[in-house]
């Protein structure tokens, strides 16, 4: 059931994802760059106190999220936001919850420099691992591109295996596409439009606790592997899928800049359960690194 196509680097594109992944010409995807990136991803020398690596907050077992509401970095410092799942980011166009980075090469360096995460200058990082910052950036970006999630029950279902989803999950899929209006943002193979939207999640006491990408908007996260990546939202403020479904069913949180796609859905309890059941069907096979060598 695996849609196959090997890239030059030996990457297998799982069922449900596009064969074409945008890769910058300056950073071709090679076995060497993926493997180097894989090592750097786990290299704690890239943090000031040697306690933290990328993998600290992006655990493979949790679909490359960390299970905490807010990530913990060097010296036990707590960050501002929840660590997002890193699956299928090779298809992304905007990165970070506030969408401030437009490429993976740009994105992967920022946590190294963030005082709450790894707290090194790029010069310090370079000297610690003996690689210039461009090489670090390209290698980490290549590795992140190799992290793919697909071949889920949902993918099997839409590829023709009508038994891959239970009746309840099929009902949930209809709600996702219809009454739930979820696909207005969570769309396509990666279940994200790569856009930023104000759902009201950051609206507290008449103001935004975090402006995000501006006026309380945050980037749409993928729904792939959502069953393994609790808690949810940019601040990890919703602990369960059920809480997220309730939040949207109630129309988000009213504020002056609420996205026009967010409105009360009036989902029944059965519909909420069905939607939640469907979302768990988006857990598939998470692959990383050199797929054909494993």
């Amino acid at each position: 059931m695996i849609a196959l196509l090997l890239l030059a680097a030996g990457l297998v594109i799982p069922l449900g994802l596009d064969l074409y992944m945008p890769i910058p010409e300056a950073n071709p995807l090679t076995a060497h760059s993926i493997e180097l990136g894989r090592r750097l991803f786990s290299d704690r020398r890239l943090s000031r106190d040697g306690s933290t690596a990328c993998v600290t907050c992006h655990e493979p077992a949790r679909a490359f999220a960390d299970g905490r509401a807010r990530s913990v970095g060097v010296f036990g410092r707590v960050g501002r936001r929840h660590a997002p799942a890193l699956v299928n980011r090779g298809y992304g166009r905007a990165f970070f919850w506030d969408a401030r980075a437009s490429s993976l090469e740009e994105q992967v360096l920022e946590p190294i420099e963030d005082p709450n995460e790894m707290d090194l200058t790029l010069g310090e990082a370079s000297s610690r691992v003996g690689l210039d910052s461009t090489t670090i950036s390209r290698a980490l970006a290549s590795y992140v591109r190799s992290i793919l999630s697909g071949d889920s029950p949902y993918d099997q279902f839409v590829s023709g295996d009508r038994a891959a989803l239970s009746d309840e999950q099929q009902m949930g899929l209809q709600i996702l596409r219809g009454k739930g209006n979820c696909t207005s943002c969570h769309v396509g193979p990666t279940f994200t439009d790569e856009g930023s939207h104000n759902t009201g999640i950051a609206w507290r006491d008449g103001q935004f606790s975090d402006a995000g990408a501006g006026k309380g908007a945050f980037k749409t996260p993928t729904l792939r592997e959502v069953g393994r990546t609790a808690p949810y939202m940019h601040d990890g403020s919703l602990a369960t899928i059920e809480a997220v479904v309730d939040f949207y069913s109630d129309g988000g949180r009213t504020n002056p800049h609420l996205d026009r796609e967010i409105r009360p859905l009036g989902l029944s309890n059965d519909e909420k359960r069905a939607l939640g059941a469907f979302l768990t069907s988006l857990s598939g096979t998470v692959r990383e690194g050199l797929h054909d060598s494993r």
Binding site: A3, L5, S159, G160, R177, G188, P189
Partner: protein, 695 residues
């Protein structure tokens, strides 16, 4: 002396003026006589002689000559004679100063120049014309055959362009036997197979052989409940893959290929719901070329070349114009495309090396537009073109007799040939209509003041919309449409600002089967029963969301509620009887038995237009009735709801059924869209050789 001289000059001027005026009067008399021969007597050959004489006699008068040329072209067009195009072309080429004639000729000159004067020895050749022409298929590599749909039955068919014969490749029976049909198709590179879409509740991908003269057994290659549409665009040169575009249930579109071996779909790229206009395999099979919109809302399209395994992709980086793929040059070094980047549509060439576009595109054939049907092995480009002079007309009508009190007029001078779907405002002072700025452009809304003649053009933030109808307060219009996320439904459009608000969002692809109350407080939509031909019309209260079933029965199609909210008019096709019948049905909204208003025995499920119009007083339904099984000739009938004589309205035989007519609130005028429209297939031969020769 000075006074005498002045008097002399004045006399000469007066005399000359008198002569000129007299000549002008004679020109007008001659022209009117010819027009009378053409339009009143219907003697087109006689009119052609008269227009020819006028052109010879008044050659120095550019306005008269341009008008006569225009009528001459129209006469030939009505006769189905391709010479019409050469006269339109002459107006466009030589009479740009005669704005009205120029605009009309330009709108009708939708096929490329016939003459070979632009690109060396390249020349256009008409290869197929007639009412059965369909341009959803593709040309064979040798240019001999064209796959198409025979809409008389919905079967896949093959046109032998050399012999001028058609052959059905499938045999599903008549429409009364089966509502299934073929749609898009592509012939394999070895000319032995056709891949085609087959609609059977949803679209399937099928393949059928071309060997022999009979009907072969097709193979269903792809059928997936999650895929609403699948369209084959091209075959890989080795015949092992078919390039396709699919539309998913989640409204996304995907570009990819289906393996002949196992029917598996391999998605190369997922894109927004509008997708590409064409996918073409490079001659070596290593690359796929396609076009995509640059943004969610704009009309501009860029070209892309992707390796067929998805490993890499290159964009041409064209951020100007609407660029649409035609195909590859036979040697694979150039990508051919249609673009309006030069101001008007023409054929362009872009060099491609190792899958990467190189340099700037080159215009190789100006004034060329149409639906690309493929590039043959010899490099000939085949295009399906639309010939149309359709536009909005207004006419005074005596509804008691159905006759016109005067000849219809064309009130619009802008975007001539591209204005559709008129609707009178409740006070009768404005006419709203849908227009397109270019033949391939998106829909826009315009409102014309009938008092001042001024036109307000409104930008509507919808991906598409159709059949806008005024609300009773005249402050907004309601239309069927789809937003930029591909959501079909019913939308309210502010008549001043063009701002859009959704009234009701349908399931994907179902928005067409809806209607609404005049004020938009209620929406009526068709809800089908899976696995049966039974459907119901559901009334939805927009404010409360409450729904109730108005009627349930077989074959229901599009609901058209009356302005007073008492009835739904709808048409359906009844297969029973010797030949089958199209039926106009009246459904009481508050309950009660539906009753038939009209029954037309005709083996054509579209004998009555699926959407119907109402008179403003809700006393009558106006419906288009097809005159033939294939083609667009229609009659317009007014059917009183309370009974009484149905009347044919004398609007001619080329009224556009999709636009619907609109009756003025005073009950004495009618706005409608009329004009001939037909499809033709043309081959542009020797194009690439001519381009090489001019380098």
């Amino acid at each position: 002396m000075r006074r005498t001289g002045m008097a002399f000059v004045a006399a000469v001027v007066l005399l000359a003026g008198g002569v000129v005026a007299q000549q002008k009067r004679q020109q007008d008399i001659d022209l009117q006589a010819a027009i009378r021969t053409e339009t009143v007597d219907g003697d087109l050959n006689g009119a052609i002689k008269q227009y020819g004489a006028i052109i010879s006699k008044y050659r120095a008068d550019r306005a008269v000559t341009a008008t006569a040329l225009l009528h001459l072209a129209e006469c030939y067009q009505k006769l189905g004679d391709a010479q019409s195009q050469s006269f339109y072309e002459r107006i466009v080429t030589d009479y740009a100063d005669q704005k009205e004639a120029f605009a009309l000729a330009r709108s009708r000159l939708v096929r490329p120049n016939v003459s070979a004067r632009v690109s060396g020895t390249a020349r256009y050749r008409q290869v197929w014309t007639g009412p059965e022409v369909d341009v959803e298929g593709g040309v064979s590599p040798d240019g001999r055959y064209l796959s198409f749909v025979d809409w008389a039955t919905g079967d896949l068919a093959l046109r032998d362009l050399a012999a001028g014969t058609n052959r059905r490749l499938t045999n599903k029976g008549t429409w009364e036997h089966s509502g299934e049909y073929a749609e898009w198709s592509a012939i394999s590179r070895d000319g032995k197979q056709v891949a085609y879409s087959w609609f059977k509740n949803r679209y399937q991908l099928r393949v059928i052989g071309l060997q022999g003269s009979g009907v072969s057994q097709p193979r269903t290659l792809f059928d997936n409940e999650d895929v609403e549409e699948i369209a084959p665009h091209d075959w890989s040169p080795d015949g092992r893959r078919i390039a396709v575009q699919v539309k998913r249930q989640d409204r996304t579109t995907q570009i990819g290929w289906v393996a002949i071996e196992d029917g598996a779909l391999h998605v190369v790229r997922s894109v927004d719901w509008r997708g590409t206009t064409r996918i073409a395999y490079s001659p070596d099979g290593n690359y796929l070329a396609f076009d995509l919109p640059l943004s969610e809302t704009g009309e501009q399209r860029d070209l892309f070349v992707v390796t067929s395994d998805g490993r890499s992709q290159s964009a041409a980086g064209m951020n100007a114009g609407q660029n649409r793929v035609i195909g590859w040059s036979p040697d694979g070094t150039r990508l051919l495309f249609i673009s309006d980047r030069g101001g008007s549509a023409g054929i362009w060439s872009l060099n491609v090396t190792d899958g990467k576009p190189q340099g700037s595109p080159v215009l190789i054939r100006p004034d060329s537009d149409g639906r690309p049907l493929g590039v043959t092995a010899s490099g000939a480009v085949y295009l399906g073109v639309t010939l149309s002079d359709r536009d909005i007309h207004i006419a005074p009508v005596d509804f008691k007799t159905g006759k016109l009190a005067a000849e219809p007029s064309r009130p619009l001078q802008r975007f001539v040939g591209l204005n559709r779907q008129p609707d009178w405002s409740p006070d009768g002072k404005s006419l709203a209509y849908v227009y397109r700025a270019t033949r391939r452009g998106g829909s826009n809304l315009a409102i014309r003041s009938m008092e001042s003649g001024t036109v307000r053009e409104l930008r509507v933030e919808l991906a598409y919309f159709a059949l806008p109808r005024w609300t009773p307060d005249g402050r907004s219009l309601i239309a069927k449409g789809g937003d930029t996320k591909g959501r079909d439904g019913v939308y309210r459009i502010d008549a001043q600002t063009g701002d859009v608000a959704p009234i009701w969002v349908s399931e994907p692809g179902r928005g067409f089967f809806s209607g609404w109350s005049s004020d938009g407080s209620k929406v009526y939509y068709r809800k089908s029963t899976p696995g049966t031909d039974t459907a119901s019309f559901v009334e939805r209260d927009v404010a409360s969301g409450d729904e109730r079933e108005v009627v349930r029965r077989a074959k229901l199609r599009v609901p058209s509620p009356s302005p007073d909210g008492r009835y739904i008019a709808t048409t359906f096709y009844d297969k029973s009887g010797a030949s089958g019948s199209a039926v106009l049905l009246l459904v009481p909204i508050s309950g009660g038995e539906p009753r038939e208003l009209l029954r037309v025995s005709q083996p054509n499920p579209n004998a009555l237009n699926v959407s119907v119009a109402w008179t403003p007083d809700s006393q009558a339904v106006i419906v288009n009735k097809a005159l033939t099984d294939v083609g667009d000739q229609t009659e317009v009938w007014l059917i009183p709801v309370a009974g009484g004589q149905a009347r044919r309205l004398a609007l001619g035989s080329h009224v556009d059924g999709y636009s619907l007519v609109s009756v003025h609130p005073d009950g004495r005028q009618i706005a409608f869209v009329a004009g001939e429209r037909r499809l033709e297939v043309w081959a542009l031969e020797n194009l690439l050789a001519a381009q090489s020769a001019t380098k």
